[in-house]
Each structure stands twice: as C-alpha cells, then as structure tokens.
C-alpha cells in the first residue's frame, strides 16, 4: 500500500462523493421541503446521461452535450412535477414510493424503446482523456480531476443560491416549516417546480459526467439512487450541507473501502480470503457508516427540522 495509492483512492472517493452530492442535493430538498420520496430521481440521472450521449455524438462536442442535457433534463423534470408528482405530495410515503417506482419502470421502458437495450457510448472529451501529473511521479486521470472541479463549482453555486439568495431563504424556510413559509407568502407550488427543475439539472450534470466512467445504460439510475438515499439519511433530510458532508463520507468510505480493505486484510487472512471477505465487507461499509451515524444522531448529521 503506497501513499500514492491512498491519495488516488481518496481522490476517487471525493470524486464519487461530489457526484453523489449532485444527486443527493435535489433529493434531500425534495424530501425535506415537499416531504416527498421520489425514486424517479435516478431516472432523471439516466435521462441526463442519455441526452448527453446523443447530443455529444450528434454535435461532436461533449460540452454541448452536457449543456443540452442540463436544459433538457430540467424541462423534463419540471414537466414531470407539474403533471404527475404534484398529485403525490399529499399522499403517504408508501403511495409515493409505489407511484415513483412506476415512473422508473415507465422511463426505463421509454429509454429502451428510443435507445435500445444496449449501453450507449459516451466518451470523455478528447482534451481530458489523458492523465495529468499532479506532483512528480503521481499521475491522475484528467477527466476525473475535471469531475472534482465541476463538483466543487456546482456545490459552491448551490451553496450560494441556498445561502445567499431570497429563493434560497425560501427553500430553507420551507424545509424547516412549510406552513409558516406559505403563511409568509412563499408561492410554494412555483418553488416546488423550480426545485424540481434544479434537482433534475443537477441529475443531468451527474449523469453526463459519470456516463463516461460508469456506463450509460437502462437501469443505471437505480443503483446510484440507493447511495444517494444513504447520503441524505446520513446528512439529515432537507439539508444541503448535510448532503455534501454525507456524500463525501459515503464516496470516500465506499471507494477507499473497496480498494483498501482487501489490501489491509491480506496480511491477516491471506490473499484469497482477503479478496472475498474484504470485498463483501467493503460493500456493506456505507451501511455500517449509516447505522453508526443514526445511532449517534437519529436525525442525521444536519437535520433541517429541529
């Protein structure tokens, strides 16, 4: 286990964490303010990735693809909110889970009809395809660095919106006490639609950026959605700050655990056993983390409602 390996794994973890944050930010706002469990959030992530792939291959520009995906996914998200999801706010969580699970199935089927069942090709842009030498002797993929940069930039932008603008104040007020926010004149329907649009746009960014690393295929939203839910439960429902901290924790613990646990265990258990047990242990590590956090803070790290 060399220091460079550890640094590389931590960078990978931060990168996954920031991408998870993009998903979790929208999810936690929707859950926190509208008290709505939206499983279809992962579908927007998938749609974002597919739109990026399509526009990228049509125009030859990855960056155009990302821009188009952000706009397109935001519009689809808002349309989904205004047509279907809005009807679900007043229902209980079980109905919301069932209905939005239905949306996942429908969206998956639509995507399969349009793009086919095979994964779609989405490559990192040419300029970012190689590795860069961060310090002499330590090389790291440029595209992954780009992800970290974009993740940080979007996080900063989001923090600016939430903490420095009146819309952000309404969002926070709505997350802590929706009724009072309404009684103060906040047009909650409009705000919900805007938040959905914003959440969908963030999904698109994550889908576009993770597409070249993971794979653009039907069902890609479901596995990452579970991670995003773990993140918002750890961070505290409704809190952007909590989503960021939770996402970084989950990203680093998951990535580092998968890479390093087998190595650590090798000295104790021998190679084969270490690979098996280490791998199994690594995949439950984030759930252990979640249980630990909830044991210590049942509402998560930074609950919006206190």
């Amino acid at each position: 286990m060399t220091p460079t390996l550890i640094v590389a794994q931590i960078l990978n973890g931060v990168q996954l964490g920031l991408m998870l944050f993009l998903l979790a930010a929208g999810l936690t706002l929707i859950f926190g303010i509208m008290d709505m469990i939206n499983l279809a959030h992962g579908s927007l992530y998938m749609i974002g990735a597919y739109l990026t792939a399509t526009v990228t291959s049509a125009t030859g520009s990855f960056f155009l693809g990302v821009g188009a995906a952000i706009i397109g996914t935001a519009l689809i998200g808002m349309a989904l909110e205004m047509s279907v999801l809005r009807q679900l706010y007043k229902r209980d969580h079980l109905s919301q889970v069932l209905a939005t699970f239905g949306i996942i199935l429908i969206v998956n089927e639509i995507v399969r009809m349009i793009w086919g069942a095979q994964p779609v090709l989405l490559n990192a842009p040419e300029v970012l395809s190689g590795p860069v030498e961060i310090v002499p002797g330590f090389r790291y993929p440029a595209f992954r660095l780009f992800l970290i940069g974009v993740g940080i930039a979007v996080a900063l932008l989001l923090f600016f919106i939430v903490n420095r603008t009146r819309v952000g104040m309404w969002v926070r007020a709505g997350a802590s006490n929706r009724e009072m926010a309404q009684a103060m004149g906040v047009r909650i329907k409009l705000l919900f639609t805007l938040i959905f649009g914003l959440g969908a746009a963030l999904c698109a960014v994550a889908g576009a950026l993770l597409g070249p690393i993971l794979s653009v295929q039907v069902g890609m939203g479901e596995s990452i959605l579970i991670l995003a839910f773990v993140v918002i439960v750890i961070g505290g429902i409704g809190s952007i700050k909590g989503a960021l901290i939770g996402a970084l924790l989950v990203g680093i613990v998951d990535t580092a655990g998968r890479a390093l646990l087998p190595l650590i265990l090798r000295d104790l258990l021998g190679r084969d056993a270490a690979t098996n047990i280490g791998g199994a242990l690594a995949s439950v590590l984030i759930y252990l983390l979640m249980a630990l956090v909830l044991f210590w803070k049942p509402e998560g790290l930074f609950p919006a409602r206190s």
Binding site: A173, N177, A183
Partner: protein
C-alpha cells in the same frame, strides 16, 4: 364603508371534530380588534382558517371585498395578511436578518414602508443579534422577530396570536407599547391575548368566543364596564 376583513358564519373542523360553529368577525381599516376566549375556544382555529391554513367548512371570509375561501395561504398572505403565530414559529435555520428580509414586500405600495432599519429601530435587540440563527434567540427576541417578520411584508392586516405569551413582564410591556405604536401609525390589527386589561387599553372592539361561537361582541368601554363578562367568558 366596507370592512377590511369580514368573516360571516365561519365553520371549521379538524377531521371529524368541528371546532368553529358560525363565527362572525369584522375589522375596519385602521381598527384594532381583540379576539378573546378561554383555552380551546377556537381563537387560533379562527385565525388559521382566515389565513387559509385550515379549510373553511362553511361561511365566508372576505378581505378588501375579495372572497378568501379556498385560496391557498400564500395567496392570502400576498393580498396583505400577515401573522405573528402562536408559538412564534421563527425559522430556526435562517438568521435574524434572513427571517426579516426573506419575505419583505410592499405589495400595497404603502408610502412609508417598513424596512430592516426601521424594524431594528423598533426592536434594537434584533440588530445586535442580526447574524444569529433564529434558533439561538431567547423567547422575547423570537417574539420581536416574529413581529418584525410580519411587519416587513407591510401587511394591511396584522394578526397576532398570543404575542405576549410566556414573556417576562417587562418584555410583555415592551410588546404592548410596540402594538400601540403600530396602532397610532394606522395599522389594522387583530389581536388574540389573555391579558384583558391590556387588550382593552389597546383595542377598539372585541369579540369573545365560547366553544366556537361568538358569545359577545362590543366596544372596549362596554367590555371594561361589564365585569360579569370577564368572569363568565374569560375566567378572570
């Protein structure tokens, strides 16, 4: 002259249990009206129904002549009704300053609107706590903030539900002084409070609720003259 707020035959319920049975209430522009009654008689419920937070099961609410029934709370707020609610309900995750500026508006275009500086001048402790989160304030500071937050919307009708509840006597007097200054400035106010003497000194007219119905209504003079009303309806 038509009343600013006109409530007629208002009925409301929590699920199956009806709480209001035909409440009438009227407030003219510039008037201060007290809404009284013992615990659980329906004062807060009346306010919540006016604000649109609870649907009216029957009757009618008119504000500036417009029907409020069925309107969402945000529309009613934007028409010029602001509340200082029971329990204050400060946003704990917003700073004092944010609680004040987040909802600031002057939709009726009043000539000399409330501003941050004016609210700070009215409640100097708030200025000192400007950057603190709402959750960090004392009860008295929270109450000042709740009033300031409502004033920043420059409401045509200000509703206060138990604004002096749980405050130390000196702070309570501070709030009453503030309310009489607001009245002198022409603010229309509906006040729910348990301190009958103070309410009589402040308000022009009063309505007493008993089990969701109006038991008595009249002027401050009539209420202060007839002590039997106090013992019969208010338990003081």
């Amino acid at each position: 002259m038509t009343a600013l707020l006109e409530v007629r035959g208002l009925e409301a319920a929590y699920g199956a249990s009806q709480v209001l049975f035909g409440v009438d209430l009227s407030i003219d522009s510039g008037q201060v009206v007290g809404l009284l009654g013992r615990n659980g008689m329906g004062k807060t419920t009346t306010i919540r129904t006016i604000l649109g937070l609870l649907p009216a099961r029957g009757g009618e609410i008119r504000f500036c002549g417009d029907r409020l029934n069925g309107k969402p709370p945000e529309s009613i707020a934007r028409m010029g009704v602001a509340v200082v609610p029971e329990g204050r309900q400060i946003f704990p995750n917003l700073t004092v300053r944010e609680n004040l500026i987040a909802f600031a508006a002057n939709r009726a275009a009043v000539p000399d609107p409330w501003t941050l500086d004016k609210v700070y001048a009215l409640f100097p402790p708030l200025a000192a706590r400007e950057r603190n989160l709402g959750s960090r304030l004392s009860g008295g500071e929270q109450q000042m903030l709740a009033i300031g937050r409502a004033l920043m919307t420059n409401p045509q009708l200000l509703i206060l539900d138990e604004a002096t509840e749980g405050l130390a006597p000196l702070l309570r007097e501070e709030i009453w002084r503030c309310l009489s200054r607001l009245k002198a400035a022409g603010q229309t106010i509906l006040v729910v409070d348990k301190y009958v003497e103070r309410l009589i000194a402040l308000a022009d007219a009063h309505t007493i609720l008993v089990r969701g119905q109006v038991a008595w209504r009249g002027s401050s003079e009539a209420l202060s003259a007839d002590r039997t009303l106090w013992s019969r309806y208010l338990g003081v």
